[in-house]
Every structure is written in C-alpha cells, then in structure tokens.
C-alpha cells in the first residue's frame, strides 16, 4: 500500500494546480471548484482512503472514477519526507565509528583482562566485559569492521555470480535455460546450513575471506532469478540485437546493454543480501562453525553467549545483539526506500 499511496500523491504533486488533465481542465476555472474535485478524488479511492479532504456538505457520492484522472495540489513536501534519514544517519555513525575505531576505542579489544572478566557495564568498561575479560565497547567498533566487510564482500561475490549466471540463463536458448534453472533448484534443495558447513570444510579453517566466499557462493540464486527474468524481457530488443550483430561479446552486452536495465530492480535485493550475509555470518559464528573467537566480529562476540546465559550476564548477549539488529533494521529501511523509488519510476513511465 505504501507504494501505491505514495505514487498517487506524487502524481498529484507534479501537475500544476488546476490544469492537470483534460478532464479537469473543463472543471477547474475557479478556486471554488477545487472542493468538488477533491470530493471526486476521495470517492474514487473508495474503500481505501478516508475522506480527509471531502466536503462534508456534499450529499452525492459518485462511485467509479479512476484515481488517475483526479488531482489536487499535494502539500509541499519537505526534502527529508519519505527518506530514511534516521537509518542513513545511524548507518553512517556505525560505519564511520567502525572505520575510525582506533579513535573511539577506550581499551585494546583483543586484550584479555583477567582481573576484570564478566564485569557489568560501569564507567571504566562502558558496555562491560565478556567472559574472557575483553572490553565490549571497544570490541563492538573493532568487530563491526569485520561484520560489515563480510556483508559487503560476500554480497559482491554473490551479485557477480548472480548477474553472470542470470545473464547467461536469460540469453541462452530455452533448453539450456531450463537446465540451468533446474540445477539451481536442486542446489537450493540442499539445506543451506549443511551446504555452508560442507563448503567451509572444503575451504579449510574459517577466516574472514573464506566465510565471505562461502556465504556469497550460497546466496546468489534469488538475484539470479530476477536478473534472468529481466534479461529475457529485453533480450530481443532492437538495441541488443544490433549490438550482437555488430559482434558484441557476452560481457559487453551484459555490461553496456543489459545491466543498466536490470540494475534498479536488483538494487533492493542487493541491499537485502548485505543484510542476510551479516545475519549468516553471525549465525555461523554463534554456532561455532564461523569465525573463531580470536577474530572479533559481532557474530563471534555472540558466540560467548552460551556461557553468559549460565552466569546471567545479560550485557554480553544484549549489547552486541542490539547493535546488530539496529544496523540490520536500518539496512532494511534503506532497502525498502530503494524499492519504493524503483516502483515509482516504473509506474511513471
């Protein structure tokens, strides 16, 4: 709904007052008619919008007018309206803090202070210390770098695989396309967790790069499907055929002609992929098959939480988790914003 309503108002905002469409041109020669138009508009939206601008005195109800033909000057929007300002701000703070973690950290995040292990948050240890005596406040900024890096890197890998695979599958003849799609379905039917464990075992002891590769390799299918559908729609356009006739190779086609067309529709999924990659990393590390304890990330910090449960030290579980969840939430907001933007563009065309 958000999308629809948004679009509706936006359509209204673009047209100058009173001169919107042909249908209304006839009506709107004076300001007194504008209330009538308002009524029409509200009625036409019928079940959906509450009649906020309707004239209460008007006894008639006209049903069946398409909303596209009705306009009212939309109230002027502030620049920050509908934009995920808070999310962007928070993301900027987190990313900035993680990049300049040297300036923020109050302690050495890797130093195990055996005198002060499992301390509740106080003035010296802002967020407390974990069961190994490391300062959680410093670890969050230090570990955030790794978590964010894994998110970005594995998304880069998965997007690249997805674009190439989807492109091939989209351009290929029908039988090859069916075959490729069947293969992805079979790959998908192996439980993700098991696939990750096995791949990780093949790649050897987990570190930041191998974890990213494993997550990237196992999470490209959904983007690939979208790319394939989009490519199939535009593959017989004139410019693609022209380019092929002139001898453009596959990657030339993909980069110069196909990618500009599907990039907006996969943007949302790419952002969501960063999110799910961070989730995967933390889940894996938590289960003890991801990053080891020495490599600090938000996930490996949480892997101490089993011990923390026994001692009831809530801060070890709560604080890194809250950071993780709020970051993910902000990414979702940004992703949703991107999706709304894309939908708008498609409809205005």
């Amino acid at each position: 709904m958000r999308i629809l309503r948004h679009h509706l108002y936006d359509g209204g905002g673009e047209v100058p007052e009173g001169k919107s469409t042909i249908g209304h041109g006839a009506y709107s020669d004076g300001a007194d008619k504008s209330s009538e138009i308002g009524t029409l508009k509200n009625l036409s939206e019928g079940t959906v919008e509450k009649p906020d601008r309707a004239d209460p005195a008007d006894p008639f109800q006209i049903v069946g007018i398409q909303p596209s033909s009705s306009t009212l000057p939309a109230p002027k929007k502030k620049w920050y309206k509908d934009k995920p300002v808070f999310s962007l701000l928070f993301l900027a703070i987190v990313i900035g803090g993680c990049l300049c973690c040297k300036l923020i950290m109050t302690k050495d995040p890797t130093y195990m202070d055996l005198m002060n292990y499992n301390r509740a948050p106080d003035r010296e240890f802002l967020f407390g210390t974990d069961t190994m005596g490391r300062d959680i406040f410093s670890m969050i900024w230090y570990g955030g770098r790794i978590s964010l890096f894994i998110g970005l890197f594995s998304t880069l890998i998965s997007t690249m695989i997805a674009v190439v695979f989807g492109g091939i599958s989209g351009i290929a003849p029908q039988w090859l396309d069916t075959l490729l799609m069947r293969l992805t379905e079979i790959l998908l039917s192996i439980p993700n967790l098991l696939l990750v464990i096995l791949l990780q075992a093949i790649l050897g002891t987990p570190n930041v790069v191998t974890i990213s590769v494993v997550i990237g390799v196992t999470s490209w299918t959904s983007i690939a499907k979208v790319v394939r559908t989009e490519v199939r729609q535009i593959r017989s356009s004139e410019y693609v055929i022209a380019s092929r006739c002139m001898g453009g190779g596959f990657f030339h086609l993909l980069w110069h002609h196909l990618a500009p067309n599907f990039i907006s529709s996969i943007m949302f999924m790419v952002v969501m992929n960063i999110r799910s990659a961070i989730v995967s990393e933390s889940t894996l590390s938590f289960m003890g098959i991801g990053l080891p304890l020495e490599i600090i990330s938000w996930g490996s910090m949480l892997s101490l939480s089993e011990k923390a449960l026994l001692t009831g030290s809530w801060w070890i579980i709560l604080i890194p988790g809250v950071f993780l969840v709020v970051t993910l939430l902000c990414m979702t907001e940004v992703g949703n914003y991107l999706r709304r933007q894309v939908n708008q563009k498609e409809r205005n065309l």
Binding site: M1, R2, L4, R5, G46, T47, V48, K50, V63, G64, R182, L183, E185, I186, L187, L188, S189, I190, P191, N192, L193, L194, L195, I197, L198, L199, A201, I202, G204, S219, T221, S222, K225, V226, T229, M269, M272, N273, R275, S276, V279, S282, T283, F286, M287, I289, L302, S305, L309, G312, W314, I317, L318, G321, L324, V325, L328, L329, T332, E333
Partner: protein, 334 residues
C-alpha cells in the same frame, strides 16, 4: 483428457526422481571432498592411537578406500535395495536413527507451520482492513523489526528472559529426562522453539497477504460490489480474500522448506533432538551415510513442495504464471 493427466503425472514423477538422483550425486561428492576424518565419528578418540595398518583396515571395513565414484555406485545400489548403511556415530541403521528423531521435528515444524499459516492470514487481513491507520502502522513497524532479528539472537533473548530470569520455561531439550511420556512437559519444552519458528517467518507471509489484499482491493470488481451496496466486511472476506487464497496456498507450499530450514538453526540453539541437530552433527563430523539420507529427505520435501506449488498455480488459478510465484517467495527469504 485422461491420458494427458497420466502423462502429466509421470512427467512430474520423472523430473522428481532425476532431481533426487542429481541431488544425491552432488551431496555425495561435496561431502566426500570435504576434509575430515569419518573414522573419528565411528571410533571416537581411539583413532589417534591407531597404527597405520589398523587405520587401513578400518577404512577398508567402512568402504572408504575406493575411489569416490565406486563408493557412490555401491551406495546407490544398496540404497535402491532399501539399505542406506549404518550411522558411524550411532552404529545402528541410519533409518532407525532418523525415525527416532523425526517425530520431534515434525511436531515443531508442523505446529509452527500451521500457526504461521493461520496467523499470517489473520494478520494480513487485519492490516489490510486498517490500511495505513494506526493499527496497521503499529503492526507493520513491529513486523519489520521482528523480521530483522536473527533467529538465534531472538532465541537467546527469550531464553534469557523466560528461562534464566523468570525461570518459567526450560531452555533446552524436548522433555525432562525420565518424563518422556508427560505431554504437559513436552508442551512446556515446545513453547519457546515454536515461538521463534513463528516469529521468524510470520511477518514475511503476513506482509505478503497484506500486499496482495491491497492490490485486490483496488480492482474494479470491488468498486462494482461497493456500488451495489455490499458492506466492507463482505467484500473483503467473501470476494478479495477468496481471490488471493490460491496464490497464498502456493506461497505457503513453497514456504514449507523455509520453515523446515529455519527449524535447523532453532533446534541446534535449543539442543532440541530433531533431525536439525542430527544433520548439523552429521555434516560436522562426517557421518556420511546419515548425511546422505538427511539431505535426500529434505531435498525431496523441497522439490515436492515446489511441485505442489506449481500444480496449484497451473490448475487452481490459471491467472498466475508459474514463474512469478517462486521468484516472489525467494526474494526476501534468502
């Protein structure tokens, strides 16, 4: 007409079998390529004290000596006769190990699935009814937040609140030892895992119902019904809801493997004795035979559910293209 149907079913069956075969090949090769010592899960710590001859003998006995292809053909031959080998860790027949555990997972996944199915529908209708008003906005906000919380962290949080602080619910296992027949005890152990299963998936499907309903509400027949004087409730429940039900059914069919996959992580967090923990163990400790059967089992469920969804799309609701559904359900889930 009848012949067509027979052909349709056989075709589907063939695809199903071929997919399973390919799946078994892929899992077999990936699992054997992964380094790790399957002897450890069979002999435990004794492996370290073994001499080279003993090791060779043990590998010979478990049939790990031959090239992978030979091993695979032997495995396939045995499997077609119903013999899936023994689990290295439990040292009994694989099927026996699985049948002992699968009931727990079915209860967890089944109850969770039914709850998700009903609650998502209700929540979606509720949101569509109050579109963009306060109740809808509140639910949407809460939903977005819960969908962002990783399942394992939510489990930790609930354990921290309900088991550690309030001491109301147990934090692990399927029953207290010695009370395996006590139904009340089992239900107590189920509450937390099921809550996580439901919360983890609920919003995604509720949101889908909401969006589909809102799309439906904007179509022309609603206007007609309204102008004929039907009240809002009747239009929403008798007309709109009915129209989205087929697509909802097919989405839920695809969601079965997702719910199942979600239980894997939850089972390990709660150390709940189901096939989730079992497959986690078998993948980590190279219990090859067990791993193969578990992979094929879950793969069969996934492929079957996809086919059911496709069939629903093609037969009940011809308006929807078969492709569209699968894509939609993949988008946010992964």
């Amino acid at each position: 007409m009848k012949k067509n149907k027979v052909w349709y079913v056989t075709k589907k069956l063939l695809i199903f079998l071929i997919s399973l075969l390919l799946l078994s090949v892929i899992t077999f090769y990936i699992s054997r390529l992964a380094p790790g010592d399957p002897l450890v899960s069979y002999y435990g710590d004794r492996v370290e004290k073994m001499s080279t001859q003993e090791r060779a003998w043990a590998e010979e006995k478990l049939g790990l000596h031959d090239p992978i292809t030979v091993q695979y053909i032997r495995w396939l031959g045995n499997a077609l006769h119903g013999d899936f080998g023994i689990s290295y860790k439990y040292k009994t027949d694989v099927l026996e190990v699985i049948t002992g555990r699968i009931g727990n997972t079915l209860i967890l996944g089944g109850v969770g699935f039914v709850l998700i199915f009903i609650l998502a529908l209700l929540l979606g209708v509720w949101c569509a009814w109050y579109e963009d008003r306060l109740p809808d906005r509140i639910v949407c906000r809460i939903g977005t937040v819960t969908s962002c919380i990783p399942e394992f962290w939510m489990s930790l949080l609930l354990i921290l609140i309900f088991s550690v602080q309030l001491r109301l619910l147990p934090s692990s296992g399927a029953y207290t030892i010695g009370k395996s027949d006590d139904i009340l005890n089992r239900i107590q152990h189920l509450i937390l895992p099921i809550t996580i299963v439901v919360l983890g998936h609920l919003w995604y499907y509720a949101y889908m119902v909401r969006n589909k309903l809102l799309e439906e509400v904007r179509s022309d027949y609603v206007l007609l019904a309204k102008s004929k004087g039907l009240d809002k409730r009747k239009i929403l429940f008798c007309h709109c809801l009915r129209n989205i039900l087929p697509s909802y059914l097919s989405i839920m069919a695809i969601s079965v493997p997702h719910v199942l996959g979600g239980t894997y992580i939850i089972e390990t967090v709660f150390s709940y004795p189901g096939i989730g923990t079992l497959s986690y163990e078998s993948a980590r400790y190279k219990d090859y035979n067990l791993l193969m059967v578990l992979c094929i089992l879950s793969g069969a469920i996934v492929i079957l559910c996809n086919m059911v969804a496709q069939a629903i799309n093609e037969h009940i609701d011809p308006r929807i293209r078969a492709n569209e559904m699968t894509e939609e359900s993949e988008v946010v889930k992964r």
